[in-house]
Every structure is written in C-alpha cells, then in structure tokens.
Amino acid sequence: MQTKECIAMLLAGGQGSRLRVLTKNVAKPAVPFGGQYRIIDFSLSNCRNSGIDTVGVLTQYKPLFLNSYIGIGSTWDLNYQQGGTTILPPFVGEDGGEWYKGTAHAVYQNLDFIEQFQPENVLILSGDHIYKMDYSQLLNYHKEKNADITIAVIEVPWEEAGRFGVMALSEQGEIVEFQEKPEIPESNLASMGVYVFRTDVLKSYLTMDAKDSASQNDFGKNVIPRMLAEGKKMFAYPFCGYWKDVGTIESYWMASMDILDDKANFNIFDSAWCIYSANPPQPPHYIGAAVRVKEALISEGCSIHGEVDHSVIFPGVTIGKGSQVKGSVIMSNVKIEANVKIENAIIGENTVIGDGSLIGGGSKITMVEDNQKFAPNTRLGVLLTIKRAEKTLSEVAGV
C-alpha cells in the first residue's frame, strides 16, 4: 500500500441527541442542512478540497442511511484505488468486540486501518460541523511548529464557551491550559474538534488511554488533558472563517438562517470551494404565477405556489396557494397544502400539512418530525398573531 503524508479519521458515529427528532432516524452527520446538503458534506468536501485522499469514516449510531449515503465517497471525488473513503463500523475480533466507547476509543479500534498507509500525521475530524476549512494550511502550520498535536481553534461568544473545549495559549501559540466544557470558562478560544496528530504520538496516547479503565476514552476529556499534563508540544491553529457546531435545534436553525444572510460570511456559492452532495435527480423547481419568494433558498423539484420568506426549502417540497412560510426550514418532499402559515419552524421530511394549518410562530423554534400527516387546520407550536381574514381565524381557533 502506498504511504500517505496525512489521512483523515472522520468521527460520524454520534447520536446528536440534542437535535432531538432530527436524529430520530439518522445519525447527526446525516441530518439534512442548507437545502442540498447533509451535515457531513462539509467535512468531506473540505477533505476533497484540501487534497486529502484517504478518509476513514467511523460510524455507529443508526448508520443505515449514512453508510449508503457515503458509499465509496464518489460524491466528494474521494473514491481512489489507493485510499479513498472507507466506512469503519465497530467490529468483533478474536477476543470479542465492543461498541465505540468514546471518540478516542473509536480511533484506537481502527489503528490497523491507519497503519496500512503509514501516514506521518493523522487528521481527526468530526462530521457534525458547518464550515469551510483548508486542512492543508492547518497541516502546514502543524509541520512548521513541529508539533505533536495541533488543534484548530476559533473564538466563540463568551456565553457559549462552556459548550466547548477551551484553551489558553502562550504568545507563540502553544497551548498552556485546556478545559473541556468548563462551567466557568477562562478563555473563549474553543476547540473546533479538528486535530492533527503526529501518528506515533497518536498511537502511543490512544494505547495508553485504552489501558486506563478510569478514562472515558474521549479526546477532549482524556487524551488532550493527559498530553498537556505530560508536556507534549501542543499548538493551536487559529481559524477565522465561519464555523458552527449545529448540535442543538437553536444552533441548527441559526446556521440555516446564516446561509441566507450575506453578512454571515458563509458563501455556499463559492465555486473555488464547492460543497458536494448527493441528491436524487429532480427537475428544476417551479415558481407559480402569483407568488412572492425572497431571502430564500429553493431546491430542485419544488413547486411553490405560496409565499416564502427567510426560509430554506429542500428538494421536492410543495407549497400550496395562499400559504406563507417564514423563518423556517422545510425538508425534502414536505407537502404544504393551501392557506397554511408556518413561522420559525423546522419541518421534517415527507410530512404533509393540511389546509389552513398554523405551525410555529413566536421566538421559539417549532419542530415537526419526519413522515407526519397533519389534518387541515392543525395548530402546532406557539400561538401566532397573524393578519388573516377574521373568518379563517375563528375557524382555526375552533380546532
């Protein structure tokens, strides 16, 4: 087997339980995002665009869809004779087997995969972030600093810092302190969950970690603190582009609104850094004759006969006459019948919403599961104040 300078291990086994119904049927990396994509498309497209040609994708939670979506990686041009994309599920060996207990344990279980390529460095990625990043620059920085590990970091708002692994740096950019999800953060420089390890260092620390029965086998909680305690050469690589951990419903909705907003600095139209995805073939979408669509993303196969504002509409969605969709994310093949009003909501795939229904509204996000069927005049979520004919309003109120 040809040796590689750097290969990537993409952690895609997480449940993402805070995304609630969005991950009821699929793993978090397979959650649809941004009209055309799945969350994992961003990391895989970054690999392809950064010139990384070997990616191991570690799957565990509800992998059926994810495995078939990834296939041999041809969607991202990551299918190669040597290397390419390999799905790495948990497995049994002669001494039995176990589930991936944590992020570090998952990679430890697949050291054989890594050794095939004898890479100098291993890039650890997670499949649940929305960002565009050139990993080759991170790798160059890592080599320049001759580091044992380099962690990509980004400044986050102080009030959110407690959700992340945060660190303090020396003037040279060396990591001097690291706290994983601290209650009182001392820094707002957050780990993006993107690490480059020297392969020999990675191997020795993962082996040590696997032998430690007290460890939770997690990179952030165990491996990185231990490396810091043992005085390894650890650098932080500052990233200043757009990055969002879409781990909660609120952050998922925010990131969806960000792609509609030119000021958010996340351009999916950039042909120099294309985000690849696989979608079933659909015809161009149709916009009806008496329709207003603005500040919106509309995908193939949609048929729009109502009003759409500040919303992301996935492929194959039908929006009936007189309906209004505002501040919402409507996933594939949802059917919205006539005179429906939807505001600040996320509607799961294949759901049908009957005539005259009112979904969402107010400042909270209303979530609707996949494959639901709502009768006409259903009311769901926060009560709306809407301007409608009095007659229709009282009908709705009567339900």
């Binding site: 139209f269 149709y286 329709v291």
Partner: protein, 376 residues
C-alpha cells in the same frame, strides 16, 4: 416481463444543425433542455427506467459536448462491466442527409449488434421529449405478434394549431392498430396520427433488413423499408398518451420550453414515469434575494436572483441582477444578466453576459438567439 432481453439504440439527428446557433457547437442530442437536461436525457432515461441495460448512442457531428455529458453512463446507471453505454460512430460524416432513419449507421456497427445478446431492439431518435414506458410497448408488440411496432401519438390540434409538426411521419391505422399506410409530409391541421421516431422490433429482423439494404443500397428505414412494406411486414402502432415534444427547430425549442411552465405538464413529464436522469452537477440551491420577483418560472439549481423574472426558464447557475427584467425567455447555464436590463422573447446560450442597461427582444415566433459565451 423482463426487459433484460431488450437493447436500446438512439440514433442521431439527420439535420445536426437544425437549431442553428444552438447547434453550432453541439449535436442535437446534447442540446440543453428544460433547465437541467440535454435532449438525449429523456430518451435515455426512458430506456433505463424501463429496465434496458444495453444502450448504444450513435453520434456523428460536433460530439464533444455529448461525450462529455454521457461519460461512461454513470449518471444513468449504465457504467457496467457488461453491457452499459456504448457510443458508436455513424456511417457518414455528412451533416446533411435525406435519410430519416439511417440504417447504414446501424450496419456500420453490425459487430456490436451481433455481439449483443438481446432479442429485441428499441430504436429512438434523440430529439424526443417524452415519458414512455417501453415495457408497455414490448407487451403490446408481443400481444399483437407484430414485426415492427411504431410509437405514435394521436394529435388533435386546436384551431388554429399552436404548433404544426413539420416534415412528420403520419400513420393510417386499421381498427386493430395495424399500420396500413405511412406518409411523410406536413400534417393537415385537425387530427392525425403522428409517428414519434421510436420503434421496437426483433434484432433478427433488423439483421435481415440490413442485409436487404446492403443488397439494394437503400438505407432509409422509413422510406425504403417501412413505407414499402406495410403489407410484407406486420407493422403495428402503439398509442402513446403522455407528454410529447419533438424538437426540430428554434420555434419548437422555444414553444416547448414555454410548455414546461404549465404545472400539469411539468408534473406529467418529470413525475409520471421515473426520474429523468442527467449528468450530476454540484451546486447549491437557488437563492432569492430581497428584491427578487419571480413569477411563473422554471428555475434550476445554483441561480442567484435579485431581479424580476416572468414566464421564463432559467438553467443552472444563472445570475439575475437587481433591476433586471427577464420575461418570456430561456437562459442557459451560467447566464449573467446585469442590472437594469430587459430581456423579452430571447434564448441565451450558455455563459452569455448581458451588460448593464442592455435590452434584447425577440418574439415567440422568432425568438432572438444569442450564441454561447457572447457578451452583449
């Protein structure tokens, strides 16, 4: 009924420059159509959706874009170790040819025909927009015990006809659906049976016909074979009732695009008979900005729209700036429509840039065509 026993052949258009400027750099089969597609995609998808796994495409002239589009047939599921997609050369390189269906093209590839194991052959033109299930045609063919089955559509034109088929093949049928006469010419405008340039027959019959053609050096399947043998051969006609468009001219091209703006037709064509496959392209969904005002339009992915669009078809990656007004037009991929422009009744080929303040107008009888990559 399995379609494992059927192979498909898509023959090339005998007037490869029928669409003038649009066919200057590409053959008819690869003319962009319907926002996402090339003309050949519809026939190819019908074959694949019907279960045909061995398809030959005969290509003659200006074939670069066709070959680039088809590749090894991956996007149609035809990249197979056995069978799959074959691109075959035509017999002559003369662009103009009076044969309607040139059997010499098939004869030139007789080795491929002999090597193929299928019993039946579906032969189709490359300029037909339809959603046809060949399984039904094969069943009809077998039930009738036909030698050749033609696919036709019964046309009842309104008064006056919206679109007259020029140079059509018209059929006279008996009550059983057997063809009693084939006529080549311009139809009168009430009702007629229009042959669609799609056929099914046994390969053994094709081989026999090819040997006859070689002997007499008469190679036109319509004029030299079918027209002369309405008695000798059992020729039946299968009635196709779905959406049909045959593209032979710029007005056809324009007219049938405007057809796609009927939601009923859009649904019938794209959702009645399996997906229409095409070469996959990557790109985001289409973005509508605050100033966008789009009504009655078919819009492909990757467009960025800030202006006004009415009764138009936008292909992939088209940009419509603020203050632009596009109506009754067809804009192919990557068109860039600048601020304060007006476009009415125009067809823009790929990568055309209309600069700020530009005005372009044509009309539906004679749409204005702007060639590829021009800046106006």
């Amino acid at each position: 009924m399995t379609m494992k026993n059927v192979m498909g052949i898509i023959h090339h258009h005998k007037n490869e420059q029928a669409l003038q400027e649009i066919t200057r750099h590409r053959c008819m089969a690869s003319v962009p159509y319907g926002g996402n597609y090339r003309l050949i995609d519809f026939t190819l998808s019908n074959m694949v959706n019907s279960g045909i796994c061995n398809v030959a495409v005969i290509a003659d002239f200006n074939i670069r874009s066709l070959i680039e589009h088809l590749g090894r047939g991956k996007d149609w599921g035809l990249d197979k170790k056995n069978d799959g997609l074959f691109i075959l050369p035509a017999a002559s390189t003369q662009a103009a040819n009076c044969r309607k269906v040139d059997l010499e093209d098939l004869f030139r590839n007789v080795d491929y025909l002999e090597r193929s194991k299928e019993k039946y052959v579906v032969l189709s033109g490359s300029n037909i927009i339809s959603s046809l299930d060949y399984k039904k045609v094969l069943r009809f063919h077998e039930e009738k015990g036909a030698d050749v089955t033609l696919i036709y559509q019964s046309v009842n034109t309104p008064h006056p006809p919206k679109r007259v088929h020029s140079e059509a093949v018209l059929l006279e049928l008996d009550s059983d659906g057997r063809v009693t006469e084939l006529l080549v010419g311009k139809p009168g405008w009430q009702s007629y049976n229009l042959a669609t340039d799609m056929y099914i027959f046994e390969k053994s019959l094709l081989m026999r016909i090819l040997r006859e053609c070689l002997r007499y050096q008469q190679w036109d399947f319509i004029g030299d074979v079918l027209c002369k043998q309405t008695r000798g051969l059992k020729i039946y006609a299968y009635p196709y009732e779905g959406y049909l468009a045959i593209i032979n001219s710029i007005p056809d091209y324009y007219y049938y695009h405007m057809d796609l703006l009927e939601p009923g037709i859009w649904r019938k064509l794209f959702y009645s008979c399996g997906p229409v496959y095409t070469k996959l392209k990557d790109g985001p969904s289409t973005k509508y900005y605050g100033t966008a005002d789009v009504r009655n339009a078919l819009v492909a992915n990757g467009c960025m729209i800030s202006g006004r669009v009415e009764n138009s078809v936008l292909f992939r990656g088209v940009r419509i700036a603020k203050g632009a007004w596009v109506k009754n037009s067809i804009i192919m991929s990557e068109g860039d429509i600048g601020e304060d422009t007006l476009l009415d009744g125009v067809i823009l080929d790929k990568n055309v840039c209309v600069q700020r303040g530009g005005k372009l107008t044509g009309d539906n009888k004679k749409p204005l065509v702007i060639g590829k990559r021009l800046v106006v």
